[in-house]
């Protein structure tokens, strides 16, 4: 049969495969002629792959389902997380440092921290939506500061921030208490460097908390927060970034306002900026509208 096929020209083979051997009419991919019901069997490769596709789509998929059910979620260190881990389902074990409990919207969030191998402290925010949070609360599994917990969830990476989203109440377990929490939050807060000139801020000051004063050139409101550009005698200006959580209730900054800001020096898009990390860290000293 195969030899016969090889002897056929390509055109003949194509004709044979697409036409009914009995009535000679065009049948295309059909295996039974719709006009005379004669069987128009296709070449071996098509038949074999048809069986393979059905087998893989059914038994293969069931096998994959059972494999996925039994696969153990990988436990990782917070420091291992990066932009490439986004959407990964992982487990993290650490000490709860900032348990915020259930919010007024019913969601749950807390921070857990781990001591890295090089002595650094890595922190990740863990959260759960309303429905799951309520189930966690009903199981009395809302962690307190100092609890050692193991949480499983999906990694969410956005704007260089990482968080873990819990999808089921049994994905959190409290495994003990760490009375000597790795690092007390107070110890991590450095002292504020007062009255720093904007043009004196350099890369050596990254991660330091500074207090600056400047005139507002531009205000960019975004979904994540407010970016205030201060005049530093350059075209670009100097950015003071106020994330959503640190926004003041009264946030009417206008061009020309003189403001005082206390925040951490950080780098963004190859430029230095001051990142505000708590409310009421930006004050309007002199408002344009007050004139």
């Amino acid at each position: 049969m195969e030899t016969e096929k090889q002897e056929m020209s390509r055109e003949e083979l194509y004709h044979k495969e697409t036409h009914c051997p009995s009535c000679g009419r065009f049948v295309g991919p059909l295996t039974r002629c719709p006009y005379c019901q004669a069987l128009t069997e296709k070449r071996l490769s098509i038949r074999v792959f048809k069986y393979i596709s059905v087998f893989l789509s059914t038994f293969g998929l069931i096998g994959l389902l059972f494999y996925a059910r039994n696969v153990k979620t990988q436990e990782i260190q917070i420091s291992q997380l990066g932009p490439l881990s986004n959407f990964g389902h992982v487990a993290v074990k650490g000490t709860v440092t900032e348990s915020r409990g259930l919010s007024k919207w019913g969601s749950l969030s807390f921070n857990i921290q781990q001591m890295g191998q090089d002595g650094t402290v890595d922190v990740i925010k863990v959260s759960a939506y309303n429905k799951i949070a309520k189930e966690i609360a009903s199981l009395n599994k809302i962690p307190k500061n100092g609890d050692i917990v193991r949480v499983e969830g999906q990694v969410r990476a956005q704007n260089d921030n990482y968080s873990l989203m819990i999808n089921a109440p049994h994905h959190i377990s409290i495994e003990g208490r760490d009375e000597n929490t790795l690092i007390a939050p107070e110890q991590t807060i450095p002292t504020i460097i007062p009255n720093v000139e904007l043009d004196a801020i350099n890369k050596d000051m990254i991660n330091n908390i500074v207090k600056v004063t400047g005139s507002v050139v531009r205000v960019i409101n975004t979904q994540y927060g407010v970016n205030i550009i201060l005049d530093n005698s350059t075209d670009k200006g100097f950015s003071v970034w106020i994330p959503k959580f640190a926004e003041q209730n009264e946030k009417s900054y206008k061009q020309g306002d003189l403001i005082e800001a206390v925040g951490i020096v950080s780098e963004y898009n190859d430029s230095l900026q001051i990142k505000i990390n708590k409310k009421d860290s930006v004050k309007v000293i002199k408002s344009v509208s007050a004139k």
Partner: protein, 449 residues
């Protein structure tokens, strides 16, 4: 306008043009091989860049991605046309591009698709300022309704499938089966793909370092490998191709094709999970397209608007609209964008589209002569030999398992005369159910939670 020109022509932004050109050249190289999707290539590229800490600023990376995505959306037409000849003994569907190729008009098809793509880029650039005004409220309005919009898209995809059985029997049940057997295959493909989607989304079966691209083995299995396998089984021939000196094209056709394609592409770019194929189908029906030239052109527009438009929407300042694979890849690294960066994106997009179209002509001419000399079966076999080890290298045995199962699913619609579009159930079904708030119920039922 002056500000935009200043920004674009500023020497400090010239590096972005350089990275954009690199991206276009890169997309041209990968377009030689069928089955390599740009999202997967960018994913692997990022993995390498971040692993070796290559110094590249965020905007440089974005410029590179713009070059890649625009270049790919235009240049990918070449392998999609020349390396997909129709075989009526195997497939029920012969796309117009395969039909044109069989008539020696592959070059014409490629250029016409390219014209459509350019039309799409022009529309995106013209409407870019308007997007800043209309997209934010549109997102707010449609946000709470997105699950049923996606549900309606699913219903449309399933219900627009039609019975293909032609035989008539005396028995009522035999006729019933003849009418329904192909529809049932479509439904089976859709729901089995949906089940695969639930599994892959619930568990990370690939290394955590590659979790951001855990969907790669799924798509390679669903689309790339079945394409290569069916190409290797294909007994169709690619005849001598004619290098047309002129095109049968008028402004009415350009406008109709671009408009229809833009509607579909924009819908796909805005609604989550909907792809260019689905958007194109819906807009094709909505604008009652009949002419095959119109189909080919609007396909080019739709594809480009989907790929580039979804990435463009990501740059609307303060909106955080993550649509399409590329925006999802860049999202963890990206921060808030400004108006200047948005328009810089538009400028780079127009530049990349122009350069890609200029490259398209010699690229198509080269393939015009190569395709009759090098059998497409060999090219497909080579691509298969590259793709499978690459997936194994990055995703390990877990990824291989997923890819193998997905390959079986991907072969089903081709070999059993259903539409490949049903394979999008892999994302449509889980995402729609998750948006409706029942994702965990399904996962619990499947024992995946």
């Amino acid at each position: 306008m002056v500000e935009l020109l200043n920004a674009f022509l500023s020497p400090q932004n010239l590096d972005l043009v350089y990275f954009c050109v690199i991206g276009i050249i890169f997309s041209c190289v990968i377009s030689f091989l069928p089955a390599l999707h740009i999202y997967n290539v960018i994913g692997i590229f990022l993995l390498v860049v971040l692993k070796y800490e290559a110094s590249m600023s965020l905007m440089q990376l974005i410029a590179l991605c713009i070059g890649m995505i625009v270049g790919y959306s235009i240049l990918n037409t070449v392998p999609a046309t020349y390396l997909s000849p129709g075989d009526e003994s195997m497939s029920y569907y012969i796309l117009p591009s395969a039909d044109w190729l069989a008539k020696g008009r592959g070059y014409e098809c490629v250029i016409l698709t390219g014209v459509g793509a350019l039309g799409g880029i022009v529309l995106l650039a013209v409407l870019a300022p308007l997007f800043l005004v209309i997209i934010p409220p549109l997102k707010t309005i449609t946000g709470p309704h997105m699950f049923w919009i996606v549900g309606a898209v699913i219903a449309y995809c399933l219900m627009s499938e039609w019975p293909k059985g032609l035989s008539q029997y005396k028995s009522c049940w035999a006729n019933f089966w003849e009418g329904w057997k192909y529809l049932l295959i479509s439904l089976a493909v859709f729901f089995l793909a949906g089940l695969l989607g639930f599994i892959v989304m619930a568990k990370t079966l690939v290394p955590v370092d590659f979790a951001f691209q855990s969907i790669t083995p799924v798509f390679v299995g669903l689309y790339a490998i079945p394409w290569l396998i069916t190409n290797m089984m294909n007994i169709g021939e690619v005849p001598e191709q004619h290098e047309a000196k002129s095109m049968e094209l008028d402004w009415e056709l350009v406008c109709r094709g671009s408009f229809g394609g833009f509607l579909g592409g924009f819908f796909a770019a805005f609604v989550p999970i909907v792809t260019a194929g689905i958007g194109g189908l819906i807009s094709g029906h909505a604008t009652a397209q009949r002419d095959s030239r119109l189909f080919v052109m609007s396909y080019g527009t739709c594809k480009t608007v989907y790929y580039v438009g979804s990435f463009l929407l990501f740059f609307i300042p303060g909106l955080s609209l993550t649509r399409g694979g590329l925006a999802a890849i860049i999202n963890p690294m990206a921060t808030t964008f400004t108006i200047k960066e948005y328009f810089l994106f538009v400028a780079l997009m127009v530049f990349a589209a122009g350069l890609s179209f200029i490259l398209l002509v010699p690229f198509a001419k080269l393939c015009n002569s190569l395709v009759v000399k090098v059998p497409f079966q060999y090219v497909s076999a080579f691509a298969l030999c590259v793709t499978v080890p690459a997936v194994f290298a990055f995703t390990g045995w877990g990824g291989m398992f997923i890819m193998t199962v997905a390959t079986g699913l991907g072969l089903m619609p081709v070999l059993f005369q259903a539409r490949r579009m049903n394979l999008m159930g892999v994302l449509l079904l889980p995402v729609c159910i998750n948006m409706a708030g029942y994702g965990n119920v399904v996962l619990k039922f499947l024992g995946l939670l």
